[in-house]
Each structure stands twice: as structure tokens, then as C-alpha cells.
């Protein structure tokens, strides 16, 4: 029962923060305390253990359709809840060090606390309508947070891009809910499990699947996430690690047995692979420090969808945990580096990240975890997926692994390059990075290391049947080692020592680069789609203008007619007499005509 209140401290903290906006020191501590209380509640729920009963609250019921707000705790969402609850205080702590604008404190902590609360509510809710409420709140809050610095040039546009994709996803989710509600008469997830097959439900499931893709920035909707970097760095860290993009994963993970029953897993697999490739290749070519990590998120979420497509819920949750920690840490590091370099964003202009030892060492852990180096949690997350795949899927996954090893070490080596010219200046900056920003990083390093142990405990906790093979074969270890070594050595030579240089003007290089950097088919598709809509709009608008002109034209014509008629009434007796005679003649003609018709005996 306690879990219903898990988000309440954050909601209270959010409203206190906005009310106490004038005391610029207070909101941050209020939000931090709220998040810690939420964490404590989450931990208590975790140790209470077991699957709880579903808490149902009837919101409204109308003519055979009941809308319940339901909450429940079961292994999958318990893990997700715990991850959100752990990441939240760390992000808030980091924000205290990062957000130095006193006037905007209240607004920032209000938005981010509501964001956190809605993610928690989303995670614990167990009816589609409750999920949808939290889902849409997440979208709106991300809109506000991405556009937080609205006095800058880019954020309003980035926020619009994000909300455009997310809103389309929301509508798809709503349509899915509408169909399920109409078919089953309620919106409970449990009824989806228990009630019989219905062809319309497969459509609804497909719509909900694409809604999940939109939140997770998967294939047709990838474009918003890299642009969402315009938000403050703590927001990016939070968005990419445990909230927002993970919401789609949780939604599909909860309903995975239904997707398996309706034979829809192949779509999840397909889109997962497509997005993972888009993410990995773009991460390899991007020059923006945060965008590399953002594209890497698209890849990670793609990998999770692949695991979902393989119906391997254990691998999903393992990667879910591992990814949350290393991705948050990478963003924390990126934010700190940018801060030390006067908000420079180009990777090639950033240097000397090794001057702050805490930052340097924690980044090593994050990068190694992402590159799946044994024995960090990232390795276990990715190994769990690979070990259940076979054939072409296996080859593709190894390829993705190689790509991710390459892009992340490229990122890392570019950042720690020495630049002797500015060494003294950056040294002061790096040394003065706030302890409030490095402390959460250290905490995340500890979590990255120790969460590997979950590989043993998680199957028991999730009550996964023992026949699922969670053993990692030895060749897997070797392959991952080779991939890591290839990634490290290549990028070391290319980007750190710069021993080998690529001729950027070579035509093959240019061709491949443009192909993978620009996301060619997605962007041009959206461009053409927008053109198409615009063309339609122009047709309708022309029609509108035409009709308006026509109507006023008719009005003018009637006025002209009036002018015409007026001339008859000219007061001359001759005209009147003439029209009198003509009228009589007309009547006689008509009478004769009628008489003639009568004689025909029709």
C-alpha cells in the first residue's frame, strides 16, 4: 500500500519549490530532501518484497466502460522504480552544483521534480489510463525542461521538435487505449492478460508499440533526442538514464507476454536493430560532446528493444540497470567538462579532461561499462542479450558492439587529449569543479561496479524460470575482449596520438560519412512529409480564399441587380403602362399554355 505514496514527497517538494521561488537557496534543498524521502520509501518497498496486490481506484465509469487508476508492484517495475529513485537524488545533487542561475531555481526544481514524480507514477501504475496520464505528464515536463533556457536561440526549437514527436506518440497511445477500452470495457493491464484474443487489440498493441518507440526515440522518431541536448545537462542526464526514454521500455516490458501472444515481437526486433544502427553510426560521426552520448542512448534503447524482441526480459532489465548508471555518469562528466571549457560543445575543441582526477577515473569506468568491458555491469547487460541471440542476430549484435566500442573510445580519447597551450587555464577550471558535481559521479562509479553482482541475483528476484540460460559462454568473454581492444587501439591511434590521419577529402570517405552522419532517409522523409502537408494546406487555403471571394462577389452581384431593378421604378407613366401590357400578355400566354397542357390528356 505504501508504494502508492512513493511520488508524493516529490510532488510536495515541487510545489514548495515553486512557491518559495523568491528564496533562491531553498528550492534545491527542498527538492533534494523530497527525492531522498522518495528513495527511502522505494527502498522500504523493495525490502518488503514480493508481488503486491493491485490497488484499484475507480476514476469514473460510464455505460459499461470503467476507468480505473491502478497501482501494483511486481519485479519489473520494482527494479525500474528503484533505479529512478536512486538516480533522482544524484541528479538533484549534481544540479545544485550545476544550476547557478538564482532567479530560475524554483522553476527548474518544480519542473524536474514533477518530471521525476510522473516517471515514478508511470512505473508503479498498472492500468493503461493511469500510465497514459503519467506518460503525457512526462512528455509535457520534458518539453518544459528541454526548452528551459528559452532566452537562448536553440532551446525553443529543440523543445518543439521533442514535443512534436512525443505528442504524436501520445496520440498513438491514446488511440491504443481507446481501442482496448472499447473492446474490453476497461483499461486494466490485467484484463489484457486474462481476456480472450481480439483482432482489434493487435492494432491497439501496434499503436502502443509505436508510442513506446516515440518516447524511446526509436526508428521513425529518432530525431528529437539529439536535439534535446539543448536542455540543461542534469536534465539530459536524467532524461537519458532513467526517465522518459526508458518509459517506453517499461511499457513494453510489462506487456511483453501479450506482444508475444499476438506475434508482434518481430516488429520490436526489427525496429530495435534499425535504431541501434542509426544510433551507433551517428554517434561515431557526431562532433558534439553531448550528441555522441545522445545517439548512444538511441543505440542502448535499441538494444533493449532487441532484447524485448528476443523475449528476454532478464537481459532487458540487466541492461536497463547498467545503462542507467553509465549514461548518467557520462552526462555528468560531459556537463562538468563543458563547464570547465566555457560551455564549448565541439569535441575537437575540448581537451585535458584528465586534469581532474575524480572526473577522469569515473569517466574511465563509465566508458568501460558502455564498451562492455568485463567485469563492469555494462558487460553483463550486453552479454545477457548476446547470449540468447543466434545466427544473423548474433553477427549484427557483435557489429553494434564494435561500433559502440569505437565511438565511445573516440569520445573519451578526444576529451583527454593534452593541449599544452591552454593547460594552465583549463587546469584551474577543472580543479574548481564543484564537489557537488563530482560526488554523484563517485556514487555512480560504485553503482556501476557493484551492480554487476545483480547478474546473479536478478534471475532469482524476477522469478525467471531456471531453464533460461544466464550462463555466459567463455567465447563471449573473448569476443568482447577483442572488441574492446580493437576499439581502444584504433581510437587511441586515430584520435589520441593522431598517428594515422584520414584524408577527409577522399570521395569514399565523404560518401560514407554523409550517409551515416546525416541520417539521410529519415530527415528527407520528414522534409517531404512536411512539404506534402504544406501542399495540402495551400490547396485548402486557396479554396478558402476562393470561396470567400465568391461569396462577396455574389453579394456585390445582388447589389448590382438591385441597381438594375431600381431603374424600372422611374416614375414615367409610359414605362408603367408598357410593363402593364407586357404583364397581361405574359399571363395570357401562360394561361394558353396551361390550357394546351390540359388538352393533351397526359
Amino acid at each position: 500500500m505504501l508504494y502508492v505514496f512513493v511520488a508524493v514527497p516529490l510532488i510536495i517538494a515541487a510545489f514548495l519549490a515553486i512557491i518559495l521561488n523568491n528564496y533562491s537557496r531553498l528550492p534545491k534543498y527542498i527538492a533534494l530532501i523530497g527525492s531522498i524521502i522518495s528513495l527511502i520509501i522505494a527502498v522500504i518497498i523493495f525490502f518488503e518484497g514480493g508481488t503486491s496486490t493491485v490497488q484499484n481506484f475507480t476514476w469514473f465509469s460510464i455505460n459499461g466502460i470503467t476507468a480505473n487508476i491502478s497501482f501494483a508492484i511486481y519485479p519489473i517495475n520494482m527494479i525500474a522504480l528503484l533505479i529512478v529513485a536512486i538516480i533522482t537524488p544524484l541528479v538533484f545533487l549534481y544540479s545544485i552544483g550545476f544550476m547557478r542561475v538564482p532567479s530560475e531555481q524554483g522553476r527548474f526544481y518544480f519542473e524536474i521534480s514533477i518530471f521525476a514524480a510522473s516517471m515514478m507514477l508511470f512505473v508503479i501504475s498498472y492500468s493503461l489510463i493511469a500510465m497514459f496520464i503519467a506518460w503525457e505528464l512526462l512528455g509535457l515536463m520534458s518539453y518544459l525542461l528541454i526548452g528551459f533556457w528559452y532566452w537562448k536561440e536553440a532551446p525553443p526549437y529543440a523543445a518543439r521538435k521533442a514535443i512534436s514527436f512525443v505528442f504524436i506518440g501520445d496520440v498513438l497511445f491514446l488511440l491504443g487505449i481507446i481501442i482496448i477500452g472499447t473492446v474490453y470495457g476497461n483499461f486494466n493491464i490485467s484484463s489484457l492478460f486474462s481476456l480472450p484474443f481480439h483482432p482489434q487489440v493487435s492494432l491497439a498493441l501496434l499503436l502502443i508499440l509505436f508510442a513506446a518507440f516515440s518516447k524511446g526515440a526509436q526508428f521513425p522518431f529518432t530525431e528529437w533526442l539529439p536535439d534535446a541536448m539543448e536542455g540543461p545537462t542534469p536534465v539530459s542526464a536524467y532524461l537519458h538514464s532513467s526517465t522518459m526514454v526508458k518509459a517506453g521500455i517499461i511499457l513494453i516490458a510489462v506487456m511483453l507476454p501479450i506482444y508475444a501472444a499476438y506475434n508482434l515481437l518481430w516488429i520490436i526486433l526489427l525496429i530495435g536493430f534499425l535504431s541501434a544502427f542509426i544510433g551507433a553510426t551517428n554517434a561515431l560521426t557526431s562532433k558534439h560532446i553531448k550528441k555522441v552520448i545522445a545517439y548512444s542512448t538511441i543505440e542502448d534503447i535499441g538494444l533493449m528493444f532487441i532484447a524485448l524482441g528476443l523475449n528476454n526480459i532478464f537481459a532487458v532489465m540487466m541492461l536497463f540497470i547498467a545503462q542507467a548508471f553509465y549514461k548518467a555518469l557520462l552526462f555528468f562528466g560531459a556537463g562538468a567538462i563543458m563547464k570547465a571549457n566555457d560551455n564549448e560543445e565541439n569535441l575537437y575543441n575540448l581537451h585535458n579532461a584528465s586534469q581532474n582526477k575524480v572526473l577522469y577515473i569515473s569517466l574511465i569506468f563509465a566508458v568501460a561499462s558502455l564498451a562492455a568491458i568485463f567485469p563492469l555491469s555494462g558487460f553483463f547487460g550486453k552479454a545477457a542479450i548476446i547470449s540468447t541471440s543466434s545466427g544473423i542476430e548474433y553477427v549484427l549484435l557483435v557489429l553494434i558492439e564494435l561500433l559502440s566500442s569505437l565511438y565511445i573510445f573516440r569520445w573519451f580519447f578526444l576529451l583527454i587529449r593534452r593541449d599544452e597551450k591552454n593547460s594552465a587555464y583549463t587546469s584551474i577550471n577543472y580543479k574548481s569543479i564543484s564537489k557537488l558535481m563530482t560526488a554523484p559521479m563517485v556514487a555512480l562509479v560504485i553503482l556501476i561496479v557493484f551492480s554487476s553482482a545483480l547478474y546473479i541475483y536478478l534471475p532469482k528476484y524476477m522469478e525467471i524460470s531456471p531453464n533460461l540460460d544466464v550462463q555466459i559462454p567463455i567465447y563471449e568473454l573473448i569476443i568482447s575482449g577483442i572488441i574492446a581492444i580493437v576499439g581502444i587501439s584504433l581510437t587511441y591511434l586515430f584520435f589520441y596520438k593522431q598517428r594515422i590521419t584520414i584524408k577527409e577529402t577522399h570521395k569514399w570517405y565523404k560518401f560514407i560519412y554523409s550517409l551515416i552522419y546525416n541520417n539521410i532517409f529519415i530527415n528527407s522523409f520528414y522534409l517531404y512529409f512536411a512539404k506534402f502537408i504544406e501542399a495540402f494546406a495551400n490547396i485548402f487555403s486557396d479554396f478558402e480564399i476562393f470561396i470567400n471571394k465568391l461569396l462577396s462577389g455574389i453579394g456585390n452581384k445582388i447589389l448590382a441587380l438591385d441597381n438594375l431593378i431600381r431603374r424600372i421604378e422611374n416614375g414615367q407613366i409610359n414605362t408603367y403602362a408598357l410593363s402593364f401590357v407586357l404583364g397581361i400578355a405574359l399571363i395570357i400566354i401562360i394561361l394558353i399554355f396551361i390550357f394546351y397542357l390540359g388538352t393533351l390528356n397526359l
Binding site: W59, F60, S61, I62, N63, I65, F132, I133, E136, L137, L140, G147, Y150, W151, K152, E153, P156, Y157, A159, R160, I163, S164, F167, I168, V171, L174, L175, I177, I178, I179, G181, T182, Q200, L203, I533, E534, F536, A537, N538, I539, F540, S541, E544, I547, N548, L551
Partner: protein, 474 residues
């Protein structure tokens, strides 16, 4: 003995009398007091109806025309109660904080009170005779609001408005005469009960006339040409009541038509209305993309919303009907809110072209935020009443028309995405040079924002307030 409606109407008439007699500077205060009183009585009526579980209340006041057997007869049911609440909240907010231009407050307040009087009387009238009279009265007061206090092109726009609306009322009059001579009564509830005695061919004729009349008023695609001009040229309060209340007359009429005439329960009529509503929604959404006038954009978005309401009605399911009523409430208040905020932005910067407004958020922060919240509300954000309305309408539409019923929601998507575009382009984009503010926002207007927004969220978080009421209605 329930005398709520009489009390409300009397309050509003007294209020307008007082406003006539007082000086200019006191008129707004008096108007606020009397419309606030009316709102209070409406809310008491709502609470008592909700608690007693009996939504249908009837009130008779003396004999009016003996020959036609017409009483001054008012009746309130769930639908008219919800629309009455909407009407009184919008007019209260309009009188209190809607006079953005701060001019002619006496005349505007008087017209607003009279408009509220006639529209509440219209929503609660129990026979078609009063229905017709108060409809025309409402149109007349709205016309004067537009004609006297509108902006530059007010004459053309108001005449256009009057031409459309009065041709609609003529059609309505013909339909009413037909009903009287075939059913021998004008009482709405007795027509509902004995509509089967009307011959089938006459019913078809009546249905066509009624539908045409109300669709012009709503307005739906081929008859919407009066709306953008009227809404754009009207003063702030004018566009608030025009879009918030007056267009609901038509929707209420369509609802009544479907409740009165058994012939309307026909699948081909349903499909025609679905096509009409769907096309109208997409048409308006596409036309919006090419518009640059801030108020005109909001005016077209009202057409999108009304088309979706029409689809809910066309589904002919209880859920679709209830959804339509709830969506009418939500949409009325939301559009009034949008007009208030956009008019305020236009007034503050003396500019109505979205390409020329830049960074409204710097100098008109509360209006900018209200505009943004308005977008959320138009998109049917959960926990607002608009979400319940949209949800129920599309459940109804899906259960009747299957997949075709839910396609029109993508018109809403186009609309909302375009509004987000405006938001990022014109409102929340304050890098570099921003528009200079010529006027300032006043506190009353900000309170009006709060009233309208909180109304939507209160009823949205507690949707059973309306839903339980609607359940009592057959």
C-alpha cells in the same frame, strides 16, 4: 419549489438594469457582482442536482401565449446544466478580466450580461418557441458586441455574421413550424416522447432544416466562412463569448435534434456526419497552417474542435453523446482562454501577425504561459476535462465507426503541432531583439486566466461530477 433558473435570469436582468443606470466607472464592478451572483446560483443548482441525483428540473412561469399553449417554461437537464455552467463561467471571466482594451466598459458589460441572460435562457428553454426567441436574442447581442466594439473591419464581419446566423434561424423557424403542425406541441420533452406520430417524410424535412441551421451555427465546413472574420474582428470579450458560448448553441441544437427525431438514428446519416465532421476537421487544420493572424488561427482551431464534437454526436452512442457534451464544456472554456491570452498578446504588442511577434514571453510572461497551457489543454492533456471529452468521443466513434472514427484525431495533431510551432517561434523565443510592449497586462486579466484554467482542471480531476450527472439523463 425550485426557482433557480428564474432567479438566475432575474439576477442577470437586474444586473443589466443597474449597469444601464450607473456611471461608466462602476459598470464593470456591478457586472462582475451580478454575473458572479448568477454563477453562484448556477453552482448551487449544480451541487443540489448532483447531490439529489435528479438532474431534470422544470419551472413554469405563468401563461404566455394561450393560443399556442406556450408557457414561459424552463427546464434543466444534465446537458443544459453543464452548458449553463460553462456559459456562466466564461461570461463571468469575460466581464471580470476580459476587457483587455479597457474601453467602453459600460456598453460591453451590458451586452455581456444580456448575452448571458439569453444564452442561459436558450440552454434551459423547455419549448421550441422560447428556444427560437432566445437563440435570436443571443445572436443579436453578440452581433451588437461585434458591430459596436470590434476592430477595423467590424462592419463587414458583423454583417456577414448576421447574414449567416439569421439564415440559420430562418431554417430553424421553418423546422419549428413544421414540428408544430405535425406534432401539435412545441414542448421539447413531449416531442421527444411522441416524435413517432410525426410522419416520416416530414421528419426527414425537419431533420434537414434543423441540421442545416445548427451546422451553420456550429460551424462545420461548408458554412464556416462567417467564423474566422467574426472572431478576428471582435473585441476580446466578443470573441470569448462568440467562440466560447455562441457556437455551442449549434452543437446543443444538433444534440437536441438527435434526441428529438427518431429518424436521425440512421446509419447513412451517421456516415454522412462522420465524413462531414472528419473533412471539416482536416480542412480547418490544414487551413490553419497557412494563416498568420494569431486570432484567426485560434478561430480555425475552434472549427477543428467543433468538428470532433460532431463526430462524437454522430456516433449515436451514450458515450459519444456524453463525450460531446463534456468536450463542448472543455472546448468552450479552453477557446475562451486562448482568445483571452492571444488578444492580450495582440493588445500588448499591437501586432497580430505571428511572423512579426517575437518573444512575447519577455514582456507578457503570464499571457505567454497561458497560451502554452492553452495548447496543452486544446491537445487534451490528462487531468483536464478536455481529455475526458476526447477520450469518450473517440471511444464512441470507435465503437460505431471502427477505425474510421478515430482518424480525425490526426487533424487535432496537425493543429497542436502547428500551435507548438507558434509557441516556439513567436512566444517563447526571446533571444535577440524582442517585440516592444506598448501596453501592460492587468491583474484582473491574470485572475481570469486562473479562473478558466482551474475550472478545466477541477472538473478534469473529478470527471465523475459531470459523468454521474449525465448518467441520470436518458
Amino acid at each position: 419549489m425550485m426557482i433557480y433558473i428564474g432567479l438566475i435570469l432575474l439576477t442577470l436582468l437586474l444586473g443589466s438594469l443597474f449597469v444601464i443606470l450607473t456611471k461608466e466607472k462602476h459598470s464593470k464592478l456591478l457586472g462582475t457582482i451580478f454575473s458572479g451572483l448568477a454563477l453562484l446560483i448556477v453552482l448551487i443548482m449544480f451541487i443540489s442536482a448532483f447531490l439529489s441525483g435528479n438532474s431534470i428540473q422544470s419551472e413554469n412561469y405563468g401563461i404566455y401565449i394561450v393560443a399556442l399553449n406556450i408557457y414561459l417554461h424552463f427546464q434543466i437537464n444534465a446537458i443544459s446544466l453543464i452548458l449553463t455552467i460553462m456559459c456562466s463561467i466564461i461570461t463571468f471571466a469575460a466581464i471580470f478580466g476580459g476587457n483587455v482594451e479597457s474601453s467602453n466598459s459600460k456598453g460591453k458589460t451590458l451586452l455581456l450580461l444580456l448575452f448571458e441572460f439569453s444564452s442561459i435562457a436558450f440552454f434551459t428553454s423547455a419549448n421550441l418557441f422560447l428556444f427560437y426567441i432566445f437563440l435570436d436574442l443571443g445572436i443579436l447581442f453578440a452581433f451588437f458586441m461585434l458591430y459596436l466594439y470590434g476592430s477595423a473591419n467590424k462592419r463587414k464581419a458583423s454583417i456577414k455574421f448576421l447574414a449567416y446566423e439569421f439564415s440559420a434561424s430562418m431554417l430553424l423557424l421553418i423546422a419549428i413550424i413544421l414540428i408544430y403542425f405535425s406534432a401539435h406541441t412545441l414542448n421539447i420533452s413531449s416531442i421527444m416522447q411522441n416524435a413517432n406520430i410525426i410522419p416520416r417524410s416530414t421528419q426527414v424535412l425537419i431533420f434537414i432544416f434543423l441540421l442545416l441551421a445548427f451546422i451553420i451555427n456550429m460551424p462545420i465546413f461548408p458554412f464556416h466562412f462567417w467564423l474566422p472574420d467574426a472572431h478576428t474582428e471582435a473585441s476580446t470579450q466578443g470573441s470569448m463569448i462568440l467562440s466560447g458560448v455562441l457556437t455551442k448553441f449549434g452543437a446543443y441544437g444538433v444534440l437536441l435534434t438527435f434526441l428529438m427525431l427518431p429518424i436521425s438514428h440512421n446509419s447513412s446519416i451517421q456516415i454522412i456526419l462522420l465524413l462531414l465532421g472528419g473533412f471539416s476537421a482536416f480542412y480547418a487544420a490544414f487551413v490553419i497552417i497557412t494563416q498568420h493572424d494569431l486570432k484567426r488561427i485560434i478561430a480555425y482551431s475552434a472549427i477543428v474542435e467543433m468538428s470532433i464534437v460532431l463526430i462524437g454526436i454522430a456516433s449515436l452512442t451514450t458515450i459519444g453523446f456524453d463525450g460531446a457534451v463534456i468536450a463542448l464544456f472543455a472546448q468552450g472554456v479552453t477557446i475562451a482562454l486562448m482568445f483571452l491570452s492571444t488578444s492580450s498578446i495582440i493588445h500588448i504588442f499591437a501586432e497580430h501577425n505571428i511572423l512579426l511577434i517575437k518573444g512575447a514571453a519577455r514582456n507578457a510572461l503570464s499571457s505567454a504561459y497561458t497560451f502554452m497551457i492553452g495548447i496543452f489543454l486544446l491537445g487534451g492533456v490528462p487531468l483536464s476535462i478536455g481529455f475526458i471529452g476526447d477520450l469518450l468521443i473517440f471511444i464512441g466513434a470507435f465503437s460505431t465507426f471502427s477505425i474510421f472514427g478515430i482518424i480525425p484525431i490526426f487533424a487535432l495533431v496537425i493543429l497542436i503541432l502547428f500551435l507548438y510551432y507558434i509557441n516556439s517561434k513567436a512566444i517563447f523565443n526571446i533571444s535577440g531583439e524582442c517585440s516592444k510592449n506598448i501596453n501592460f497586462i492587468n491583474t484582473e486579466q491574470e485572475i481570469a486566466y486562473v479562473i478558466l484554467i482551474s475550472t478545466l482542471f477541477i472538473f478534469g480531476i473529478l470527471p465523475f461530477l459531470f459523468i454521474n450527472l449525465l448518467k441520470l439523463f436518458p
